[in-house]
Symmetry: C2
Subunit: 342 residues, 2 copies
C-alpha cells in the first residue's frame, strides 16, 4: 500500500486519550459535554484536543449514534430558474437561520430530472442525512414516495397534490388569494384577471382557486379568458400579462400569483400604456423584497416565512426524534400588505 496522499492523518480519540492521560471514554464524555467528568480530567482533555487539533470523525460517530446531524433541503426543479426566485432564497435563509444556533447542518441538494432525483433518494437512504425538507413539488414527483418507503423523515415545503400521508408546511395560498382578489374588488374593480403560477404546482393551483372563489362569491364569473398561466418568473409574468391584455383589453385589475411575475406584469402594463393602479390595479403574492422597490410599489400577500421555516425544522426534528405522528402538517396565515399598486 503506497501512501500517495499528502493529507495528514487526523488524530483519533485514542491519541487524545493517551496525551491527556485518561481513557477513551472520558475523552468522549468531554467531547459530548457529559457532566460526569472531573474538572481536572476535563481540562487535560481540552488541552490535548487543542494541541492535536482533534476533530471527531463524524462517520464513526454516526455509525453508532445513527445520527448525522444533517438535514437536506432538496430543491426539486427541472429548470434552474428557481434559484432566482426570492421565495426560495428566503426559505434557505430562514432555514439556515433557524439552524444556526443548533449543531445541525443544512445541505442543499438539487434534482433536475428523474435520474438526479433517484440520486438524491439514494443519498438520503444511505444515511447521509437525518431528514429531508422537500421544496417545489410538482404533481408527478416520485421523490416523496422514494423517501417515504425508505423511512426517511420528510417534510414538504408546500402542500402535496393528493392529500397523502406526509407532513407539510404551507402558506394559506388559497386564503391569501381570496384576500388579494377581495382587495381588488374592494377598490371597485370588476374585470379582474389572474396570472397564475405553474399549474402543476400546488401553490399555482391554490392561488388560482382563491381568485376563482373570490370572484364567484362576489357574483362575478371567473371566465377562462381572465386566466393566463405563468411560471413564477418575471419574464413569464410579463408574457402572461401581455396575453391577458390582448385577450381582455378592458380588464381593470389583476391578481398575479407571485411578486417576480407581478414585476413582469407591471412592465407589460407600462409597455401597453396602462397606468397602475389608475387603469389596472395589481396585487402580487410573496411580499418579496422587490415588491417594495418596484414602480409602483406592489400591494401583495405576505407569506408567513418567519413562521414557516421554524415549523419546517420543528416538524422534521419531531419525526427524526420519533415523537411525531406521520403526517403532522401546518397551514400558516398570510397577510395583505398594502402599497401603491392596488
Amino acid at each position: 500500500m503506497t501512501d500517495t496522499s499528502t493529507r495528514p492523518a487526523s488524530p483519533t480519540l485514542d491519541e487524545v486519550a493517551v496525551l491527556a492521560g485518561v481513557s477513551r471514554a472520558t475523552v468522549s464524555r468531554v467531547i459530548n459535554d457529559s457532566p460526569r467528568v472531573s474538572p481536572e480530567a476535563r481540562e487535560a482533555v481540552q488541552a490535548a484536543v487543542a494541541e492535536l487539533r482533534y476533530v471527531p470523525n463524524r462517520m464513526a460517530r454516526s455509525l453508532v449514534t445513527r445520527r448525522t446531524d444533517t438535514i437536506a433541503l432538496v430543491l426539486n426543479e427541472p429548470n434552474t430558474q428557481v434559484f432566482s426566485d426570492p421565495f426560495f432564497a428566503s426559505i434557505v435563509r430562514g432555514l439556515s437561520a433557524a439552524l444556526a444556533d443548533t449543531d445541525l447542518n443544512l445541505v442543499l441538494l438539487t434534482a433536475r430530472d428523474e435520474r438526479e432525483q433517484e440520486k438524491v433518494g439514494r443519498y438520503a437512504r444511505q444515511g447521509h442525512v437525518d431528514g429531508v425538507i422537500l421544496m417545489s413539488v410538482h404533481s408527478e414527483d416520485p421523490l416523496p414516495d422514494i423517501l417515504a418507503v425508505a423511512g426517511v423523515p420528510l417534510v414538504l415545503c408546500g402542500r402535496p397534490f393528493d392529500d397523502r400521508e406526509v407532513a407539510y408546511v404551507d402558506a394559506d395560498n388559497r386564503g391569501g388569494a381570496v384576500v388579494a382578489t377581495q382587495h381588488l374588488l374592494g377598490t371597485g374593480r370588476r374585470r379582474i384577471a389572474t396570472v397564475t403560477g405553474p399549474l402543476d404546482m400546488i401553490a399555482g393551483v391554490d392561488r388560482q382557486a382563491g381568485w376563482r372563489q373570490a370572484l364567484i362569491t362576489a357574483g362575478l364569473e371567473p371566465h377562462p379568458d381572465l386566466v393566463a398561466e405563468g411560471d413564477f418568473t418575471e419574464a413569464g409574468g410579463q408574457r402572461a400579462m401581455a396575453e391577458l391584455l390582448a385577450r381582455v383589453p378592458d380588464l381593470d385589475g389583476v391578481f398575479v400569483a407571485s411578486d417576480p411575475m407581478a414585476v413582469g406584469a407591471l412592465r407589460a402594463l407600462r409597455a401597453a400604456g396602462r397606468r397602475v393602479p389608475e387603469d389596472v390595479a395589481v396585487v402580487g403574492f410573496d411580499d418579496a423584497a422587490v415588491a417594495e422597490t418596484c414602480d409602483p410599489p406592489l400591494t401583495t400577500i405576505a407569506q408567513p416565512l418567519a413562521d414557516m421555516t421554524p415549523l419546517l425544522t420543528e416538524l422534521l426534528m419531531r419525526q427524526i426524534d420519533g415523537v411525531a405522528g406521520p403526517a403532522e402538517s401546518r397551514i400558516c396565515q398570510t397577510q395583505l400588505v398594502r402599497r401603491a399598486s392596488a
Copy 2:
C-alpha cells in the same frame, strides 16, 4: 431504552449474506462490482439485496474507506442575492451535470457570516465531504485557510486575491474585459465607462483592470469618473449606470462587468433617453440567458462554463486521489459574443 422511533431498521450486509447463503465478504464484493465473484453467487446476492431492499450504510463504509463520495460546493456570500445570479445557477447546473455519470454526490452549503463559515469548515473537517469547491471568495475570506489547514482538498471557483498556494479555476476575466473594451473602441467609441463588480471580489477587480488596460493601450485615460461600482445585481447595475450618466453625460460606450448588471444598465439608459447602441454601446459579461432575451440583445463576453465545471471537478478529484500538486490551477479563455447592443 424505549424504541420510540417507527423507522424500520435497515438490513445489514450480514443479513443479506445469510439470505444469499454466502459470506459477508462475497456480498461486499458484489456490491462493489468486484470481478472475483462466481455468477451464481452474484445472482444469489443480487436477489437477496432486492428482496431485503438493502442499501449500504455509507457511514460504515466511509469509516473504512475514508471516502464519502460527496463533494461540497460552498457558496460564500453575505447576501442571498447570489442565488439569483445566473452565473451561479450555471455553475451548479454544470457541476451536477459533470457528476451525473459518476457516483459522486454534490451538496451545496451556504455561509453568510463568519459563524456560518466556521460551521461549514467544521462540516468539511469532520469528514462529511471528500473535497470542497468554493465560490465567491471575497478578499478577507477565512474559509480557504480553515480548509487548507485541515487538509481538506479545495478548489476555488475564481482566482484568489493573493497568489496563495491553492488550486483554482477561473475565466480569463481580465482578457475578456480587454476584448470587450476593444470591441467598444472598434465601433468608434471614445468615452467608454465601466460598471464594475464588487471590488472585494477578484472577478470585479480583474474585469476593471482589463477595461483599464484596453483604454491605456488605446491611448485613452481611464478616468475615475468613468468607473462606477456595482454588485453584480440588476438593481446595482441600474444604479451604477445612472451614476455614470450623471457624472459623464457624454459617454458613448460602457463595459458592464456582468449581464444582470447590464440589463439594469440598459434600463437606466432607456430611462435617460439614450438609444442603445446608437448613443451608447453596451457590452456585458457572462453570456447569461438574459443577454439573448433583453432589449436590445446584449453583446457580451461568454464565460467558458463548459470548460470550467469539468475542470473544477477534475482538479478536485486529482487532489482527493492524491495525484495532484497542491495548487494546480487553470484559466479558461473567454469569447466575445456579438449581438445588437454594441
